[in-house]
């Protein structure tokens, strides 16, 4: 019998969470050590997987299956292809960095780490499960702990009620962590309602006897079902991927969340949404995806430009990064909507690149906030002298964000642009490129103001990164540059997954 690697990856954070809850009461160091191991085991296994995955054979590998509810055909069925392989690696990198980035959480750290790790199990589970139903269970597990994580450990922003809707802002407490937590949770659960209806529709109309992706792929659905069900999945998963106009939970949520949670949420969870659209929506309903690609692409274009413009208007550092995620997720969705090999590869690569980059951004913003106790961009200045390492890493992330050659962001963007140009709607290239330019404007402006301008009168003697914080920064910068210089190591396996997917959409 072979070792169930995927199960070990998926469940080891959960085991870590249980251990933390039951053994490490009031021992903060033990909590962190357990969390470290619970993140390191999946990281090393996913690196091993990355090497061991057979690129020639492609398809789903490391297959595991246990029947759960036989009469309904629900089974615990795991397997990964090139696409999920990369995303599992992304998750393990981000959580590993996240454990170090939140080393300094002081209040109720035991519960914090336990919830964080439980959530990560949900994320891994989504990426590796091949049973639609189990997929959905993991998806919910990945979404729900967010409420408490943001509500308890989050920080409230300084949003002043202004303008026409000032009264509504005051009434609902916009900017407070409770508001952000509730908004995020309800939006995402609203999305799950769509997903659940989609799953039931697939199951009832397909006449399939199981929820396995492999079985559902071979079932045939009428064009009407295809279109409506795809729409349900697109909206449901799309909410988590931050599609306009259902993206507004994401800036509030990411800005209020504690560092590790922002990293994980913007870095990995939003990709969960995009992955859902690609794997479930496009994979199971190819014809519906083909029919509605114009909608996906059009909305993605709005996302790119609207997100970038919103990011430009922000004065709060965390909101800038949060809106930049909305813009970049637009690129991910655009790549998928092009229905071309280059575009889809770019989309998956962008999921990875953006995940690492935004994880790094949020880690750094968290460090800056912890040292300077400010998120106001125009209050800060000249931090480059006081915290050179943080400044350098921030600049690297920023350059990747605007797509500088040599960083992972560049590869993703070029592939997506190529895809857009070759798609049926070449005009998509316009907004996509405009978005990149706008990104350059806001990223460079923020970087210059905070790190490379003259010293601000408000701050003296700020420290640079220390001890465990270095680990997070170094790991993420390394990955960002490494995948930028050698994109082939990621594109290779991804391509084995996207080509068959596209073949089903184009030649049904």
């Amino acid at each position: 019998m072979t070792l169930p690697v995927l199960s070990i990856i998926t469940w080891s954070p959960f085991v870590g969470a249980l251990l933390i809850m039951f053994t490490a009461r009031r021992r903060p160091l033990a909590v962190r050590l357990i969390a470290f191991f619970a993140a390191a085991v999946p990281l090393s296994l996913s690196l091993w997987l990355y090497g061991a995955y057979d690129r020639e054979a492609a398809g789903f590998q490391f297959y595991e299956k246990v029947a759960l509810v036989p009469p309904l055909g629900i089974s615990y069925e795991l397997g990964i292809d090139g696409m999920s392989l990369l995303l599992v690696l992304l998750t393990s990198i981000i959580i590993f960095a996240g454990v170090f980035a939140s080393w300094t959480v002081a209040t109720r750290s035991q519960e914090f780490y336990a919830l964080l790790l439980a959530l990560v199990t949900g994320v891994y589970g989504v990426f590796v499960s091949l049973d639609l139903f189990v997929f959905f269970l993991f998806y919910e597990l990945a979404v729900l702990p967010m409420y408490l994580l943001i509500g308890i450990w989050g920080s409230s922003g300084e949003v002043k009620p202004r303008g026409l809707f000032a009264w509504a802002y005051r009434e609902t407490g916009v900017g407070s962590k409770e508001y952000a937590a509730m908004k995020l949770t309800l939006y995402l659960l609203f999305g799950s309602a769509f997903i659940l209806v989609g799953i039931l529709a697939l199951w009832v109309t397909g006449g399939a006897t199981s929820f396995s992706f492999l079985d559902l792929e071979s079932a045939t659905f009428s064009p009407l079902v295809q279109r409506w069900t795809f729409l349900a999945f697109y909206v449901g998963f799309g909410i988590l991927a931050g599609i306009w106009p259902l993206h507004t939970w994401s800036p509030d949520g990411h800005a209020s969340a504690p560092t590790a949670v922002s990293m994980l949420h913007a870095g990995v969870l939003m990709k969960l949404g995009a992955y859902g659209v690609v794997r479930v929506g496009m994979g199971l309903l190819p014809q519906g995806a083909g029919d509605l690609a114009w909608l996906m692409g059009g909305i993605a274009c709005i996302n790119i430009v609207y997100g970038a413009l919103s990011a430009m208007a922000q004065t709060d550092l965390k909101y800038v990064i949060a809106y930049s995620s909305v813009s970049h997720m637009g690129l991910v969705m655009l790549g998928a909507a092009t229905l071309t090999e280059a575009g889809l590869n770019g989309s998956v690569f962008q999921m990875f690149a953006h995940g690492v980059m935004t994880g790094l951004f949020f880690a750094l913003v968290g460090l800056v906030y912890e040292k300077a106790h400010s998120r106001e961009i125009f209050k800060m200045g000249g931090f480059g002298r006081m915290m050179p390492a943080i400044a350098a890493a921030f600049t690297v992330a920023g350059l990747s964000s605007l797509g500088l050659p040599g960083t992972a962001g560049f590869v993703a963007e070029v592939l997506t642009f190529m895809g857009a140009w070759r798609s049926e709607h070449p005009w998509w290239l316009g907004p996509a490129v405009a978005g990149t330019l706008l990104t350059a404007v806001y990223v460079l402006r923020v970087t210059k103001q905070i790190f490379w301008s003259g010293p601000s009168p408000h701050f003296h003697h700020l420290e640079d990164a220390r001890g465990p914080e270095w680990v997070a920064i170094v790991v993420l910068v390394f990955v960002l540059v490494c995948f930028g210089l050698m994109p082939g190591i990621a594109i290779g396996p991804v391509d084995t997954a996207t080509v068959p997917l596209l073949a089903r959409i184009i030649h049904p």
Partner: protein
């Protein structure tokens, strides 16, 4: 004789409690409750071993799988409810405890007869036997003004509903010429006589009051707020379950393909009930009123399964009832523990509970998640299964509406979770909790977790008992 084993046993228990009440002396007579608890437990064990038998009394009384399933559920709910109420404080409760148990058990007798009734008069009598003690129990704390008001409101609404129901049943008799439900079903299946449809529709209105479907729900929040919480916990689940079982008997059993008559009416009622219950729960600041309105919404979700008008729909409503019994009773009982300790039924009394009594807070969180339909606890499967049944019947719009409104429900459930987990407590000391109440909370929590992890046994049992109806 074995067809009546449970009824006779409960009758004997009632006699025993009656004698104990007469014999009891002193100011604290709550010990009588232990007789009732032990008796109900014994009956529960008996209900697990008695087999289904052929209908007796010329088909008037049926002890089939459905009846047994329902009776086990009633006994389980009553066991938990009685146990939780044993340590109940309150003006005059200790001295009049015997009456409380006597009334509650009489109502239970009504329920278990109702589950077996397949004849209009027996059905009606059982229904009244179930209802009348409830009116008295709602006003049990008679010195409280609001209790008297609630009991009166409950009584007036309840008797009007009984009147409408009796009127409907008389029309049914007029159209079918018999009080035997099997014969009524045959008449209905043969062709939709307008008089018969009218009669059954009027009867539905009567049932609607009992299960508290919109627009027949007005008594619910006031009654729940004023009556004693352990009783309310039981009231919010057991009579509702009995109402649904009676609905299945009257509208589904033996009707055949003609059941589709009821689909659109039930779907409409489900829609209204879900929307109204969830929206009215939003502004509630009192935990019992909040749970009252959320309970109305849950009735709406069960009506979604009812609207599917199929064996799987019926089975899934039965499963939903089981999940609802544990989840809803559990939430009410935690609310009782908090209000006993804090002297307040406001949601604000839950502030910082997670740091004071983590286990109690976790139990409440599980109940709320179960009611909200979140995976890994029973409520998720319950909602999923009724949606599945409705989707199989082609009611996609109803599934979508129900699924979207669960998000509204989660909003108000999460507000309670926010009080418990996010806000800091005023005092750090653990909450004092009565051991009997703690055990019943633990039983409920165990129920929803076990059903959440392993729903299969109950689902299969529900499917098994529901399929003979069609």
């Amino acid at each position: 004789m074995s067809a009546f084993a449970l009824e006779l046993g409960l009758g004997a228990l009632l006699g025993l409690v009656f004698v104990a009440t007469l014999a009891a002396r002193g100011e604290d007579r709550r010990w009588i409750g232990w007789i009732a608890v032990a008796g109900v437990f014994a009956l529960g064990v008996v209900s697990l071993v008695v087999p289904p038998v052929e209908p007796v009394l010329h088909g008037m009384f049926v002890q089939d799988g459905l009846a047994l399933f329902a009776k086990r559920l009633f006994l389980a709910a009553t066991f938990i409810g009685l146990l939780a109420g044993i340590g109940q404080p309150g003006p005059g409760f200790a001295r009049r405890a015997g009456e409380y148990y006597l009334l509650l058990l009489s109502s239970l007798l009504g329920m278990i007869v109702l589950a077996s009734a397949r004849e209009l008069i027996l059905l009606f009598v059982a229904f009244e036997l179930m209802s009348i003690p409830l009116y008295v129990l709602a006003g049990f704390f008679k010195r409280r003004e609001e209790a008297a008001e609630a009991a009166l409101k409950f009584f007036l609404v309840g008797s009007v509903s009984s009147a409408i129901m009796a009127y409907g049943l008389s029309l049914v008799y007029g159209a079918a010429g018999t009080t035997d439900l099997a014969a009524v079903a045959r008449t209905f299946a043969a062709g939709a006589d307008p008089l018969l449809v009218l009669g059954l529709a009027a009867t539905f209105a009567g049932f609607g009051f009992k299960i508290a479907a919109f627009p027949f729900h007005m008594w619910v929040p006031d009654t729940y707020e004023a009556a004693g919480t352990p009783f309310v916990a039981w009231l919010s689940v057991a009579p509702k379950a009995a109402g649904f079982v009676a609905l299945f008997r009257v509208y589904f059993e033996g009707v055949g393909p003609a059941v589709s008559t009821w689909v659109s009416a039930a779907a409409g009622l489900a829609t209204l009930t879900i929307v109204a219950g969830n929206l009215m729960a939003l502004p509630q600041q009192n935990i019992k009123r909040l749970l009252a309105y959320s309970g109305i919404a849950h009735i709406g979700y069960m009506l979604v399964g009812f609207a599917a008008a199929s064996a799987s729909g019926t089975a899934m409503v039965l499963f939903y009832l089981v999940a609802y019994v544990f989840g809803n009773m559990g939430a009410f009982l935690v609310a009782d523990a908090v209000s006993r300790a804090e002297g307040s039924e406001s949601v604000a009394a839950f502030r910082g509970l997670a740091q004071r009594s983590p286990v109690l807070a976790l139990a409440m969180l599980l109940f709320l998640l179960s009611l909200g339909g979140i995976p890994f606890v029973a409520g998720f499967w319950a909602k999923l299964y009724v949606f599945w049944a409705a989707a199989s019947a082609g009611l996609y719009w109803l599934v979508f509406l129900g699924a979207v409104l669960t998000v509204v429900a989660l909003f108000y459930y999460l507000l309670v979770a926010k009080r418990m987990y996010i806000e800091a407590p005023a005092v750090k000391t653990p909450l004092p909790i009565d051991p009997a109440l703690a055990i019943s909370v633990a039983l409920c929590a165990l129920g929803i977790v076990v059903l959440g992890v392993w729903p299969r046994a109950v689902v299969m049992a529900a499917l098994h008992v529901a399929s003979p109806l069609f």
